[in-house]
């Protein structure tokens, strides 16, 4: 579903992605972790071309991003992206946040789009908020709406860039629950997160990044019990210590 082959990216002199080779199979849930500034966001943002790659090959849902002829808008319609800062449209109601893209791109009529949006809102437990504006919602609620917005295009892949990092602790659970349900439903997911509970329970694989490279890639049990690299061991110690 997602295939990185020798992908490189630079921000000026900064080699932010260094020879990335990764594969994500359909239905797989992959967690990406690593210290701040290691290139996790950049990595996940290359998948829908928010950050174009400079070198190598990247194939997503059968479309080759290194090929100039690929229709990027079409690719993006197949991928849901959830941001750390939610990025809901503040001038639109919850319902309109969700129906905008299906109406404009999938050419659904308003009624069908709204029915579909309501079904998604039920799924994330926010049906009663359909006419609220984003500013009237808590962070956790906003992020759940953002997930529903991503799902409205019936994507093949869902990407999450630290979806719970901007949330108050008491709201993290509700968002993770929605993501878990999604994972169980068979969605292909790539999730940048430091929620190791989520990684352990739900993910099929953990990818550990440092300084723009993938240092380690393992099943969660393996990764937590037996991290191979010093950097990964240090990172895990730091991340897990406050909770134990």
């Amino acid at each position: 579903m997602i295939r990185f082959e020798g992908v490189h990216k630079w921000f000026g002199p900064l080699h932010v992605l260094n020879n990335i080779n990764l594969r994500v199979k359909p239905g797989e849930v992959v967690v990406v972790c690593g210290p701040s500034g290691s290139g996790k966001s950049t990595l996940i943002r290359t998948i829908n071309d928010l950050e174009p790659i400079n070198e190598g090959k990247l194939v997503v849902a059968g479309m080759d991003l290194s090929d100039r002829k690929t229709d990027i808008n079409k690719l993006r319609a197949e991928i849901g992206f959830v941001f750390q800062q939610f990025n809901l449209y503040p001038h639109l109601t919850v319902l309109k946040n969700i129906t905008l893209a299906p109406i404009k791109i999938r050419k659904l009529d308003r009624k069908t789009a709204e029915e579909q949006a309501m079904a998604l809102l039920e799924r994330v437990g926010l049906a009663e908020k359909r006419n609220a504006h984003p500013s009237q919602l808590s962070g956790g609620q906003q992020q759940r709406v953002a997930i529903a917005r991503g799902l409205a295009m019936k994507p093949k892949i869902m990407l999450f860039d630290e979806p719970t990092s901007a949330l108050d602790p008491e709201m993290i659970g509700e968002v993770l629950q929605v993501m878990k349900d999604l994972a169980v439903s068979g969605m292909t997911m790539m999730v940048v997160t430091h929620e190791m509970g989520f990684a352990r329970e739900v993910s099929h694989r953990v990818v550990f990044m440092d300084h723009g490279t993938v240092l380690e890639e393992a099943e969660p049990e393996e990764f937590f019990k037996n991290p191979q690299h010093d950097r990964a061991q240090q990172f895990l110690k730091q991340i897990l210590s406050p909770m134990h």
Partner: protein, 233 residues
């Protein structure tokens, strides 16, 4: 008589101050001032929107081209632009353009370039995450601009637009230089007729300009508060 001033000259010709020779002749005075301001503002809004959008284009050539136009116009005094249009347009169009429309064209060009900066700043002021979220759902950059960025940006720009309107009302007074009978021109005419009451006449039109501008400044403040309130909820 107020403080030794005699406003009879004003009261006697009050309709002339407000409407010129309208309805028997062409509109003038305050009416023409407002007409020039409203029409020019409307056209400047469209011009500013277009120039502003061009100036944030992802195509460099378009971006630089529009910036060059904007900076050139901004670098000229308004009076110059009015003269240029007054002498240039009729000869370009083979005559037949009324002076008031050459003034409207000049005001529109001039204010469009200022408006475009407001539009540009408004667009750039919307967080990048908004565009990213929109294009991530598959919307094109153009659709993202139309449905997500512009509606938010325009809303933030409303107070600035009203302020531009206030400037526009004051700027219309320069139309007197090419003989368009707006408020200042009317006042000059009245004064030339007798030469006895310049203080009264110009005091009177100063008050009218003040009232117009004050009213619209208040409107802009009120809008600003209202929008801030809407944002807060």
């Amino acid at each position: 008589m107020i403080g030794g001033l005699d406003f009879t000259v004003v009261w006697k010709d009050l309709p002339y101050f407000f409407l010129g020779r309208y309805p028997k002749g062409p509109l003038g005075g305050v009416g023409l001032t407002l007409y020039l301001a409203v029409v020019s503002l409307f056209l400047s809004f469209i011009g500013g929107l277009i120039l502003g959008l061009l100036s944030v284009s992802r195509n460099r050539l378009i971006k630089w081209g529009s910036s060059a136009v904007i900076q050139t116009i901004r670098g000229m005094p308004l009076l110059m632009v009015i003269f240029w249009m007054f002498f240039l347009l009729p000869s370009l169009l083979g005559g037949g353009m009324p002076a008031s429309w050459t003034v409207i064209t000049a005001l529109t060009l001039f204010t469009s370039s200022y408006m475009s900066e407001i539009v540009r700043a408004g667009i750039l002021g919307i967080p990048k995450g908004q565009t990213e979220a929109a294009i991530s759902t598959g919307l094109s950059h153009r659709q993202a601009m139309l449905h997500i960025i512009l509606p938010q940006a325009l809303r933030n720009m409303i107070p600035s637009f009203v302020n531009q309107f206030v400037s526009m009302i004051k700027d219309t007074s320069l139309a007197f230089i090419v003989g368009v009978s707006e408020l200042t021109q009317v006042a000059t005419q009245m004064n030339n007729r007798t030469m006895l009451y310049p203080t009264e006449i110009f005091l009177f039109i100063a008050v009218i300009y003040f009232i117009l501008c004050f009213a619209f400044t208040e409107l802009s403040r009120w809008l600003e508060r209202r929008l801030a309130y809407q944002k807060a909820i």
